[in-house]
């Protein structure tokens, strides 16, 4: 699905990613954990196509295509979705209107006909249920006046509507209470299929109680320094990141 090889990236001359490699196959859920400043959000930003970062080395192939050559919207149309850590409030643009435009642009790019109004509304009803998002929120301005939990649920709602091949969740659990966490996780789990994959970026193990990953990676100082299964997350929860830091410095 996505293959990241030896990725180096800088922002304003400072190197953040220092040779990151990761291979995610269809049907898998990968968790990326790591201390603050390790480069977790940088990775999410680069995958989504933020232009502030400069790629100095390495490659990313998404379904066989060179992801780094694609614009942000081309990536989205090819099936990449980023759930933002800080979803943006957009006054005056209704959630459903914007989603309908997005779905139709994606369909158009894939040579499909626009979605009918009836089909679209049925989809809104179906998908808003998954994240227990009040249908009135769906028709309100994008994220305007939403609580932190509602914003994150709205991210998952959008993800469900767009049905991406690869979802990247950037600290979607931050700032969520336990109920919101459960709902968000339920959304992610219900979208799991053999055809798609997720990268869950998180600081805490907590989210992984609800979304069970196939692999857990530890990102430290711009590189993946350790990979394991879900037990690695539990170990990190118990011992913190210091032993990883010590280990990687020795190595």
């Amino acid at each position: 699905m996505i293959e990241i090889k030896n990725l180096h990236a800088t922002i304003e001359g400072k190197e953040i990613l220092k040779g990151l490699s990761l291979n995610v196959k269809a049907g898998e859920i990968h968790a990326i954990m790591g201390p603050n400043g390790a480069g977790k959000s940088t990775l999410a930003s680069i995958l989504a196509g933020r232009e502030e970062y400069e790629i100095t080395n390495g490659e990313v192939s998404f379904d066989g295509d060179d992801l780094l050559e694609m614009s942000t919207e081309e990536r989205a149309r090819a099936g990449l979705f980023l759930a933002f850590q800080y979803p943006v409030e957009i006054p005056g643009v209704s959630n459903v209107n914007f989603l309908r435009t997005a779905i139709n642009e994606i369909r158009d790019a894939n040579g499909e006909n626009p979605i009918s109004a009836k089909e679209f509304m049925a989809l809104v009803r179906e998908k808003s249920k998954i994240v227990e998002l009040d249908s009135s929120l769906a028709s309100r301005s994008v994220n305007e006046g939403f609580s932190g939990g509602e914003k994150k649920r709205n991210e998952i709602f959008q993800m469900a509507m767009l049905n991406p091949k690869l979802a990247v969740l950037d600290e979607t659990d931050s700032g969520l209470d336990i109920d919101a966490l459960r709902i968000v996780a339920k959304g992610v789990n219900s979208l799991k299929s053999p055809e798609n994959a997720s990268i869950v970026i998180t600081h805490y193990q907590r989210l992984l109680d609800y979304i069970v990953p196939d692999y857990v990676h530890v990102l430290y100082d711009g590189r993946i320094v350790k990979t394991g299964d879900k037990n690695l997350a539990l170990e990190l929860e118990e011992k913190g990141y210091d032993w990883i830091k010590a280990e990687s410095q020795v190595g």
């Binding site: 989504a48 196509g49 933020r50 614009s71 942000t72 919207e73 990536r75 989205a76 149309r77 979705f81 980023l82 933002f84 979803p87 943006v88 957009i90 006054p91 005056g92 643009v93 209107n97 914007f98 989603l99 435009t101 997005a102 779905i103 642009e105 994606i106 790019a109 301005s141 994008v142 959008q158 767009l162």
Partner: protein, 399 residues
């Protein structure tokens, strides 16, 4: 030796009005123009707007009679003004007067109003005189090099209701000179809505003045949409002369290329217990420039006035510019007034967010601009006007 003023140069190119102007009005206008010259930067009200380009226009007197025109409202009774002149053989509309023994003497102390009097191409009086709502649309259709100098007199009689659409549509590439004076009387207990749509050719200079008088218990709203043109200047002057009045002024402008748009509005609250609300928003692209000046006066005895004013601009390029100046002059002590002005860029984070969901950069920006201008359009109750303007905004971006 007497030097020629810029007005003198302009007047040599214009044909004097053939309409029956009263001697009184003619003399006053001549006197104003004798000493006047085009305003310069030294004139505070014209500091950011230069009309010198008018003298580079060429005019063509031949009158085309348009056969096709695009009205905005299906229900309105319509009057066509073709290249400045009332189109021949139109059906009479009740309450609309277009032929005169002598034009009304109303005038303002303004050089372009004086010019409008002496070179008037059409004089139109509109009277709303019924509780049953009536809707009238004036369609000004013009092609290249024409001169449009209409004088419009609107009376909304006691306890009457009316809607007036002023639909200016010039062919896209045209360069015309439009100079309009509109006098509006909103009498006691009456309601008048005006929708002014300026869709001018890219070379057109359009100078307009409205002089509005509101009597007590009246409600007046005016929506001004400046969609295209080389230079657009709107001077909206509203005198609120009676208590319990409501006044709504909304404006939206979409500027690109070398367009220049200037809205000067004045609301003068002379008496107590009134409400006014003003909202002007616009987007500025390329090297276009925008000027907004909104004055609100609250006179000494005009207590319990609520007056709100807001102007917001989005610059879509690094070369566009905005001069926005809200002014409040308050001489009463028990009032609630506010004003605000903002100018900024589109929220880049919002553009990225929308693109990350599959929208092209263009579609993302268009959606954000529509949302921004949407606040003004929400104030427009007339569905056809609203959708017409929405379509024009869409075209503005697709061109």
């Amino acid at each position: 030796m007497l030097t020629q003023s810029k007005f003198d140069i302009l007047r040599e190119k214009l044909s004097p009005s053939i309409l029956p102007i009263s001697n009184e009005a003619r003399e006053k206008a001549e006197a104003i123009l004798e000493t006047a010259d085009f305003p310069t930067r030294r004139n505070e009200r014209w500091k950011y707007t230069s009309v010198n380009g008018i003298n580079k226009l060429t005019f063509d007197e031949s009158i085309d009679d348009f056969d096709s025109f695009n009205p905005i409202s299906a229900n309105a009774e319509k009057l066509i003004i073709s290249n400045g002149f009332i189109k021949k053989d139109q059906k009479q509309i009740k309450g609309v007067k277009t032929s005169w023994d002598e034009l009304p003497t109303k005038s303002a102390d303004d050089a372009f109003d004086a010019l409008n009097i002496l070179y008037c191409t059409a004089a139109i009086e509109i009277e709303f005189d019924s509780k049953i709502h009536r809707e009238i649309e004036l369609i000004f259709i013009n092609n290249d090099n024409s001169v449009l100098f209409p004088r419009i007199f609107v009376k909304c009689n006691k306890e009457s209701k009316g809607t007036l659409i002023l639909n200016f549509q010039g062919s896209e590439e045209s360069s015309c000179f439009t100079n309009v004076s509109t006098y509006i009387d909103v009498e006691e207990n009456s309601h008048l809505n005006v929708h002014k749509i300026q869709k001018n050719g890219i070379g057109t200079f359009d100078l307009q003045r409205e002089y509005v008088n509101q009597a007590k218990n009246s409600s007046f709203s005016i929506n001004t949409f400046s969609l295209s043109g080389r230079l657009t200047r709107n001077e909206l002057n509203i005198l609120v002369n009676g208590s319990n009045c409501e006044t709504f002024m909304n404006g939206a402008y979409t500027l690109k290329g070398k367009s220049h748009c200037d809205n000067h509005t004045t609301v003068d609250h002379k008496v107590a217990h009134c409400f006014s609300k003003e909202l002007y928003k616009g987007v500025i692209d390329d090297t276009a420039t925008n000027v907004f000046n909104g004055k609100v006066f609250v006179r000494k005895d005009a207590q319990k006035i609520n007056a709100f004013q807001s102007n917001a601009n989005i610059l879509l390029s690094e070369t566009g510019s905005v001069n926005s100046k809200p002014e409040l002059e308050i001489y009463a002590d028990d009032v609630k007034c506010s004003h605000g002005s903002t100018t900024g860029q589109l929220d880049e984070e919002a553009v990225f967010y929308l693109r990350s969901r599959g929208l092209s950069e263009k579609a993302a920006k268009e959606l954000l601009v529509k949302a921004f201008l949407g606040e003004v359009l929400e104030e427009v109750e007339h569905a056809e006007v609203r959708s017409y303007v929405e379509n024009q905004i869409e075209k503005h971006f697709s061109a």
